[in-house]
Amino acid sequence: MVEIADHPPARPAAVTSLWGELFRKEDWWAIWIGLGLVAVAVSLFASGGSLKWIAVAPQKWSHAADVALQLRQHAPQYAALFVLWAASFGIGAATLGIKLSRYLPAFLVLYIGTGAIYFLGLWDQSAHYNLEPPLVALGLGLLLSNTVGVPRWLDPALRVEFYIKTGIVLLGAGLPLTLIAWAGPVAIVQAAIVSLTTFGVIYVSAVRLGLDRRLAATLGTGGAVCGVSGAIAVGGAVGAKKEHVSIAISLVVVWAVVMIFVLPLAARSLGLSTGVAGAWIGTSEFADAAGIAAAQTYGGYAGNVPGISGGADAAVTAFTLMKVIGRDMWIGVWAFVLSLIATTRWENTGVQGRTGVGEIWRRFPKFVLGFLLASAVIAVLSRGYSYAEYKKDVIPGLVAPLQALRTWAFTFAFLSIGLTTRLREFVAVGARPFYAFTIGVVVNVAVGFVLSTRVFGEFWNRLGQ
């Protein structure tokens, strides 16, 4: 771990400005890349073309010879797709301060690894051996990073959040705006119940165990709102000790990775439909990338595992509505309220916070805007089509290629999670923070299950049909 405390800042502080923010935050770059691809796809579709040539994806295969044939036949497309992703993410990464000369070679390795995992998921025996791409990517990455280790030169390309946010913006293009408007309020209500309950349980448990209130709040938002992002947002807003933020991050990451494997298995053993399972994962996973890995895994069971009803996309759709609309969007409000309480009610730390309502916008996860805009663009374009025309023309010519690109972006993220989760680098968390957070995890999973299967079960079932 780098001990910055013993050195002056190596880089000058970034200048805060509205225009600067548009290019120095990866949320905005996810919007530029995601909406840029949507804009190109719409332009091509409107002129009678399609993005599908470059949005190449592996097809079902039985023997290794099939894979070789696919690669030979589509080699120019895979090469062009690499150039498209490398240019898009490379420009974004370079603007964020990551050297392009270090990013591109690392991204080439990530692209090849992702392609191999994508192909493996399309093997006609993959369901039989539980080789779901998210779990394979994560498992392989975890194995490598925690045994032989990952060479440092690969690090510049392992940008989990950059890829997952871009994928979520692209996901918006496949979700009708009417569906978001219909299911969004239910997701907000369910997520609010779970978030408030989980935060309360973690916070009260932590304080009762004698932990610092700022640590309690950081742990609480990490478990209740949006995982590591929630922990760093509130940790900064309340002025938590540096070691306390590290503790919260370690606990969230470990539990989130455990839940990627546990939640789909539990939902599968209970025979939950894809919509209900997605909603449960959305309320009970801690981070977007981890939750999408779990939800996409569960979606893969539809049609392959007896007793799992609902469409394959319903799990990711329900998850995204619950997590992004129901939980992520509100992190600014949590940060504002808790910083206000910290400033006025908690003990003085020697650093005085100066909070204001502007905090809500400053910490708003901007990529959500891209997700909603992508949905709106497709909604406007689709207005002139009947349902039959939409299924026959718009889906294969416009929506499906964007979905293929989304799958690539998500798989970049899944592999990156495994490769960046290096357990030996985590700080020791101590027993009391572990107990407080774990009590919250148990309550979160239980309350999320009851709400997803009993209280709103019928609603999430219908969404999956």
Binding site: P8, A10, G227, I232, A240, A256, V351, I417
Partner: protein, 70 residues
């Protein structure tokens, strides 16, 4: 009163923040909007908002005159 943004004890560059918090980049990012411009105060050893203020402020362009607190 000057805020942490211009203080020489304030480390807010995303690479520094990610180096200081192992695991941060696994499921989040120091380049994310939710982080705003928060950074690490090396005097108080706290993670604080850039708009915060304290008595130990030292302009980034000048030599430090304050002592580090435990």
């Amino acid at each position: 009163m000057n805020s942490c943004t211009d203080c020489r004890h304030f480390a807010q560059a995303p690479a520094d923040v990610e180096a200081a918090f192992p695991g941060l980049w696994s499921l989040s990012s120091a380049y994310a909007s939710v982080r705003a411009d928060d950074g690490i105060c090396t005097v108080h050893d706290r993670y604080v908002a850039a708009s915060s203020v304290c008595a130990q402020y030292a302009d980034a362009g000048r030599a430090s005159t304050c002592t580090r607190q435990s």
